[in-house]
């Protein structure tokens, strides 16, 4: 599904990510963990086209997507959420999701403005789809509310829903459990498994705390200072001396 071929990202003298090799198969849930500033978000940004890697290549479904514009990559089927929530603040919950529906609607500015019949049909379908997504995560009652007035946990869920509305095959979640208590984190992990099954997804998950993702990830990659220090099943990772060392003082 996704493969990165020795991608590196340098900002001036700083190497944020060095020689990252990730390979993910369809329907897997894979973790990307590491302490603060390890380069996890930067890795996401390279995969989703926010940054062009300074070296290496990114392949999605064996197509080279290196350096492709972010919106093109979303078109191809990769969607993401953000570590620091980025909802559209002057829009309500439903509109936030509808923005993401636009790319699959394939309507131009004139068909939209003139509300041509073809457009109206697609708009209705989008609304139904968006509402069904909101319903499936328990946000349907808040559809007309301002997105940023939602409590934090619901904003995180809305971001996931919005990403799902682009109809992705690969979903990248950047610290979705940040700011949640252990109970909420556990619920979120159940939720992630549920959407994987329901929407036939492949998921790459960034997490700061190893324990949170242990239960759901089949494999994980551990970054520290941009370097991949370990890769394997949760059990293997937990015993890895390099990982323990990297996490000493953090946990």
């Amino acid at each position: 599904m996704l493969r990165t071929d020795s991608v590196s990202m340098r900002f001036g003298g700083l190497t944020a990510v060095a020689d990252l090799n990730i390979a993910i198969e369809k329907n897997e849930i894979i973790g990307l963990i590491g302490p603060n500033g390890a380069g996890k978000t930067t890795a996401f940004n390279m995969i989703t086209g926010v940054y062009t890697p300074t070296e290496g290549k990114v392949f999605f479904k064996s197509h080279d997507v290196t350096g492709m514009k972010a919106h093109r990559i979303t078109h191809k089927g990769i969607a993401r959420t953000f570590q620091n929530i980025r909802l559209f603040k002057d829009m309500n919950v439903l509109e936030n999701v509808l923005v993401a529906c636009h790319l699959r609607m394939d309507v131009g500015v004139f068909a939209s403005t003139l509300h041509l019949p073809g457009y109206l049909k697609k708009e209705r379908e989008s609304k139904d789809f968006a509402m069904s997504l909101l319903e499936s995560v328990g946000l349907a009652d808040e559809a007309a509310e301002s997105a940023i007035s939602l409590p934090y946990g619901k904003q995180r869920r809305l971001e996931i829903v919005r990403a799902l509305a682009t109809k992705p095959e690969l979903l990248l979640l950047d610290e979705p459990a940040a700011g949640m208590n252990p109970q909420e984190s556990l619920e979120l992990m159940d939720f992630i498994v549920r959407i994987r099954d329901q929407y036939d997804l492949t998921i790459l998950l960034i997490e700061h705390h190893m324990q949170v993702v242990m239960g759901v990830c089949k494999r994980m990659y551990v970054l520290d200072y941009g370097v991949t220090i370990a890769h394997g099943t949760p059990d293997e990772i937990q015993k890895d001396p390099k990982v323990i060392e990297a996490y000493l003082g953090v946990e």
Binding site: H71, T74, F88, A100, L103, S112, T113
Partner: protein
């Protein structure tokens, strides 16, 4: 829209049309001029608001696009006789000499020319960071003025054009304003309109949701330029005289003033703002004239009007940061007693900050 609101809308529309008809029939020429100028400023404010308020782009080139529209429409509608009267220093280029098109056709071509120029300016400028757009458009507006001043055989240079056919009747300008408002409302309510607002709210998130941010910005810029061209053309056909000096930064500033006063990101706000500012501008014209206030005789201070307006703008920015309407639109519920009371009550600062923050 429910049935009650449909009836209300029809009534409101009828009242609006009646007011315009009565104004057109009974007001003196000076008052009709203000009435019509309001409509033109509505078009101009709406087009600038599309950029500033809805796309989150800051452009200072509006006067330039207006100039393009005004000149194109004037030159395409003047009779050969009118043209030769204007171009007495240098004759007009031969291919334009005998061209004379119906007003509506010329008007649309004027808008399209402005839109095309918008594409030429926008496509490169919008690739850069947003701050550069203000500089690029400011420069563009100045360049257009210099070009018009120097393209003697095409534009009659600094002398400008006189005796432009007076096609901008009350019905034409208000009809155009209604179409512009309807167009923007429909655009912004559509799926494409949502992507425009998404770009304003968060470019990175919009791009990640599959929105081609660059393309949306260019589209918005081109549409805005189109309507600026239409507004400029109508202005020319109303005052019947245009020259390059008219399309200066102050003109852009006036439109910006309307947008900010009315509410950045509110169509209702732009409409109200345009009417209020146009009427006040004319009503306060006496400030620039010599005054005789029985005891005090003033010399007449040209520019005093603009000072008053700048102060007004500062007051609005200080006390009502988001203009008259904020980003809200008119709705009938707004007119209920409860909503009016709530609107008058000042919001607490903390509340606003919390709403704005993440």
């Amino acid at each position: 829209m429910n049935k009650k609101n449909t009836i209300r809308a029809v009534v409101a529309l009828t009242v609006g049309v009646a007011i315009i008809a009565i104004g057109d029939a009974f007001l003196g020429p000076f008052a009709v001029r203000i009435l019509n100028l309001s409509a033109i400023y509505i078009i101009l404010a709406l087009s600038l608001n599309l950029l500033n308020g809805f796309t989150g782009l800051f452009s200072l080139g509006h006067a330039g696009f207006m100039a393009v529209g005004a000149y194109v429409s004037a030159l395409l509608t003047m009779t050969p006789a009118q043209k030769s009267m204007n171009f007495f220093l240098t004759p007009i280029v031969p291919w334009l000499d005998t061209v004379q098109l119906p007003f509506i056709v010329a008007l649309i071509i004027a808008g399209l020319c402005a839109a095309f120029v918008g594409l030429l300016i926008g496509a490169p400028a919008l690739r850069l960071r947003d701050d550069y757009l203000a500089i690029a458009t400011l420069g563009f507006a100045e360049i257009i003025r210099v070009l018009i001043t120097n393209a003697q055989s095409l534009t009659n240079g600094a002398q400008g054009l006189k005796a432009i056919p007076k096609y901008s009747t009350t019905w034409v300008v208000w009809g155009a304003a209604a179409i512009a408002a309807l167009f923007l409302v429909m655009l912004l309510r559509s799926s494409y309109g949502r992507t425009i607002k998404a770009v304003r709210d968060d470019e990175i998130a919009a791009e990640a949701m599959g929105v081609n941010v660059f393309r949306v910005k260019v589209t918005s810029f081109v549409i805005s330029s189109f309507w600026a061209g239409i507004g400029g053309a109508l202005l020319g056909h109303m005052i019947t005289t245009i020259d390059p000096k008219m399309f200066n930064l102050i003109l852009t500033f006036n439109i910006l003033l309307i947008v900010v006063l009315g509410g950045n990101g509110s169509i209702t706000g732009s409409v109200l703002g345009a009417i209020i500012v146009t009427v006040l501008m004319e009503a306060l014209r006496f400030l620039d004239m010599p005054m005789n206030l029985v005891f005090i005789k003033t010399q007449g201070l040209p520019g005093l009007r603009m000072v008053i307006f700048s102060i007004l703008l500062m007051i609005v920015v200080l006390y009502r940061q988001r203009g008259l309407m904020g980003t809200k639109e008119f709705s009938w519920d707004m007119l209920s007693a409860k909503a009016l009371l709530a609107a008058l009550k000042p919001k607490k600062r903390g509340e606003r900050a919390r709403k704005g923050g993440r």
